[in-house]
Symmetry: C3
Amino acid sequence: MTFDSVAMTTLVPSECKQETVCIFGTGDFGRSLGLRLLQAGYRVIFGSRDPGNTALLPEGSRVTSHAEAIKSARVIFVALHRDHYPTLTPLTPALAGKVLVDVSNNLKRGEYPQSNAEHLSRLVPGAAVVKAFNTISAWALQSGALDASRQVLVCGDSAEAKQAVMDIAHSLGLMAQDRGSLRSAGELEDLPLQLLPLWRLPLRIAAALLAFFFIYELVRDVVFAQVTEGKDKSFRIMISLANKIFPVVSLIMLALCYLPGIMAAALQLHNGTKYKRFPDWLDRWMLCRKQLGLVALALAFLHVLYTLVIPIRYFVRYKIAAITISQIRENKTKPFDSTLAWRADSYYSLGILGFGLYVLLGITSLPSVSNSLNWREFRFVQSKLGHMTLLLCTAHTFLFGWDKFLYAATYKWWMPPGYMLALVVPCVVLVPKLILMTPCVDRAVTRIRQGWDRPTGSGTQKKSRKSQQPLML
Amino acid sequence: MTFDSVAMTTLVPSECKQETVCIFGTGDFGRSLGLRLLQAGYRVIFGSRDPGNTALLPEGSRVTSHAEAIKSARVIFVALHRDHYPTLTPLTPALAGKVLVDVSNNLKRGEYPQSNAEHLSRLVPGAAVVKAFNTISAWALQSGALDASRQVLVCGDSAEAKQAVMDIAHSLGLMAQDRGSLRSAGELEDLPLQLLPLWRLPLRIAAALLAFFFIYELVRDVVFAQVTEGKDKSFRIMISLANKIFPVVSLIMLALCYLPGIMAAALQLHNGTKYKRFPDWLDRWMLCRKQLGLVALALAFLHVLYTLVIPIRYFVRYKIAAITISQIRENKTKPFDSTLAWRADSYYSLGILGFGLYVLLGITSLPSVSNSLNWREFRFVQSKLGHMTLLLCTAHTFLFGWDKFLYAATYKWWMPPGYMLALVVPCVVLVPKLILMTPCVDRAVTRIRQGWDRPTGSGTQKKSRKSQQPLML
Amino acid sequence: MTFDSVAMTTLVPSECKQETVCIFGTGDFGRSLGLRLLQAGYRVIFGSRDPGNTALLPEGSRVTSHAEAIKSARVIFVALHRDHYPTLTPLTPALAGKVLVDVSNNLKRGEYPQSNAEHLSRLVPGAAVVKAFNTISAWALQSGALDASRQVLVCGDSAEAKQAVMDIAHSLGLMAQDRGSLRSAGELEDLPLQLLPLWRLPLRIAAALLAFFFIYELVRDVVFAQVTEGKDKSFRIMISLANKIFPVVSLIMLALCYLPGIMAAALQLHNGTKYKRFPDWLDRWMLCRKQLGLVALALAFLHVLYTLVIPIRYFVRYKIAAITISQIRENKTKPFDSTLAWRADSYYSLGILGFGLYVLLGITSLPSVSNSLNWREFRFVQSKLGHMTLLLCTAHTFLFGWDKFLYAATYKWWMPPGYMLALVVPCVVLVPKLILMTPCVDRAVTRIRQGWDRPTGSGTQKKSRKSQQPLML
């Protein structure tokens, strides 16, 4: 059995200068890291409680006792479980001045009151503990399948120790990023445990709305026709129905992005200050606005595709041919309706422009794009263009409805069509937004957001506000 | 009134080690920063000229005089207006060795000859001045709505001082980026004042071209029909007209991306050297090529959507039904025209391939993608694929026109259709480009770009050029 | 002839503090760098073997001998060819403590056994050699056309020396990134020589498959009709044929992304360990999975556009009108086929949902997005959503085929349609994947990937595996 692993084309072992690195723990992560270090030209010594057992360790590495292994290396990777950290306490004198790299993760968030790295730092006081490599998986290290994050996040209290660890990361072909002092270790340890935390609420909202509107439209379209006319329209589920619920949920979710902003402004106006805490649910809502918007964009994208396949559908082609044939048979042609042409074209045009802005918003929310914008530009794009998108999409829906709300046939079993329900939330956003944009209200909100406080009338306050104005954009 | 603000889920206050940070200025930015620092577990002391007034300050912070506040902190945030900087001069002896963080911004660019941070550094010579946090807004700090830039750009002359500030930024859950010495402070102060500066020229060009072609096509399509035939074709504005002006302006703007490259090569060939300065307008033009291209891509995207909705339009369905009905009534069917099928399909196919490359160009201009390309790859994509896109889109337009230019009916009131006008600029780019690609011209341009200079014949020059060749890609 | 070059709007020369920088070599790169440094406010001295020849050097710079130039500068850019490095050896005493920046590149990879920078470091032992600026081209430096990479990658053994070079990079408006010690220099020197290396294999596979299916479908569609019916269907090449080969190749390539994962799991199950090396071809294949997937996405994108233009095509409109007319003439209308409506709509719906997920996969493979995901999230998206995409697209293809495989007319000259061939590879992936997902097999694979080794039964091994479990995600 050979232990040399995948060929890492990017790693050229340099012969000249061989640094020695020590790894405590012969588990999977330790072995994978050791292999990778050997490939990058390091000398690797494993520290083990059972140095006789060299099975599975990468070829070219040595195994000794912990105490022995420390001697020749400055950097020691601690690939042990937190429960075994106390076994290092007796080594404290020998570990003084060494760099201890804590690579551990926990099984769930908040498992321990103190982060593993800070715990280690307390147990071995003389050593410079650095938290790193915990965001890289053993599988990734070994297979070289580093399409995912090549970022090694590093934190620690000693700048030199961090630099040493970052140099090793660079040698392994990874990117290192300094994340501050050891007090950030808890945050780094929580990172690999997350599974898209900010996406959960938006995805749940989307799922609930989609389920509701699916059943609602199923009753209106399929069940109603079955019951009242005895027609089987179930084939409509796949496209016609989907193309009703996707735009409806997309519009509602887009409006939900901008609703908390309206509510926050209203609260601030009511309280007369921005220094009063928002309710928790509003905070949580505001933190996932980006994700709400991106889910809305994904649904809008599906709506566009579902709309564009309409003319290739068998059902549509059949219906159009049937209409043409009946016109011929009855020998009468409907005259061209110019108003209908205006309305239909406007409806499509607004939808296209709205979708174009929607996509633009999506692009600017890509991390690399939003990072290249300053705060003023970001607010311009996300707030101005965002409300414009909402306005266009709402107008698109209104034009789609047009005067249908006047006819009784629209309300099957007294149920209005889904798009009418969908218009409620956007209107709840757009109408107050228009009010907030009127000069007098806008001035009041701006003053509050610049730190102005209604009841206070002291001179100091006024002066201080003025002196800070340039800092506000 | 409570002062505890939004729950920052990512910030876990660590109890163990409490660093003290001082903030000068009790304005909005100072208060927001103080609140955030307290949440992250720091001890915060405000320095104020009026220490008695603690209204509005975050709970848990202390307020003292400036002189008193300095004593217990190493890092001092200066959240004062530039006009108040001179009040710090008396504190110079006490501030020696301290880290002064200048967080200020100006109201407009170039307001002062020297950046605020350099000004502060001159007023308080013993302190290590660091420019930072000016790109983060108070509102963002306080609301935790850091979807926008979480990047704290830091510059300063002392590496240790910068490190201390970057550690604080990391503790607040922000990303810190080192931007060099204090001489970069002016640049950092200008950053938050910009509103998409490189986008202005391209957007103005797009707006001007769109307005021109809108009026032009309005006259050709709507006014002409109204005047000569008395028909109201105004409904065509929403889609038919839009779908004429978007592709036309898109093609012109794509060609405008590549025109300055042609002009620069021609100038260099004419001058026989690359060491002669280009005219200013050419420089400005070259700097916004990327933005020109992205605006062109956005218009092309709209053109694609406007084209794909054609078959669902009421007007189109009406017309197709009318044609079918008239064929039946007159009892004659047109034979299938194989040439027309070839031409129409080629026209669509070239358009699709051109748009595909267009999107590829757009993706490679995303910051994170272009940063992962080396110079050779970037030039390959942007230059080779860019010219290929232009060629495909121009051919698409030519095939659309085909032989229409031969018929008098095409020229309503002697005005050629917009797409004919649109072909002028691409041809002005593509024909010289083909000439520049011929071996003899290509060799001359390459030599000039590698630093070769026509009139000079000295041995040194030749040798030096040869020795540097490997540096040129 | 004036030497002042393009106006760099972002560079504000600061008058106060003028640092002196020395450049060895008056070639193109040296001159361009010198010009840029002068614009940024540095004093520039060129070191030349022929100090009398100042032709072409930027105005404001000085030229002296090498020995003279060193005296006033701490940072020296070595813009010489590697062959001329030995001329610096006599200067070793004077260069002690200086920062030597190696900016060189080679003409091809692996030209020399040791990187240029390490070679320089050996020739001038006392100096702190830093590798930097080799990824920036002279043309880019001079024209300011830094749309491409503004990243200066820096490596070296001295932290202070690196910091000095990074400060200069920042002053020039560039981004600097630390890439570790001087042993990374070889990697940095190889970077500018690459031309999309990971894209070659996927693009070749795509080209080969496209060529094969083009000829295959050409014979089936065009040649067959010509030979057996004497009909000229050559116009079908542009869209109908293209829209057959693009989806077919896209589906095969998507399946090829997930095939190596299946093979690796099978190999590991067979070997009973993950510590056995995969064959080289499998490694290479696994490394370019992302690129395979993105090429597949590009082809799927073209397939979508080719499908959506179907109803605007002249051929399609002609055919639909002909069918309607013939229905009228023969006075019989086909009844509406509800099963066909279900099948056709399901087929489109699955295709749209599959494409939606496809696009989502593409977005998450953007560097800035994948960097913001942790390993667990990345695997969730790429593996779970990836296999779901493959499943949807395969089902889409099956529904397209439906029962056509039963009819002899489908097999022209015994050749099955392309989409039937395309289904082979996805099935080879999906069927074993389903087997691997069964609980018992899944448990075995998971144990192996967590470092478990079949034949070993020692207590240490078991304990060590358990203690490392938290590290595995």
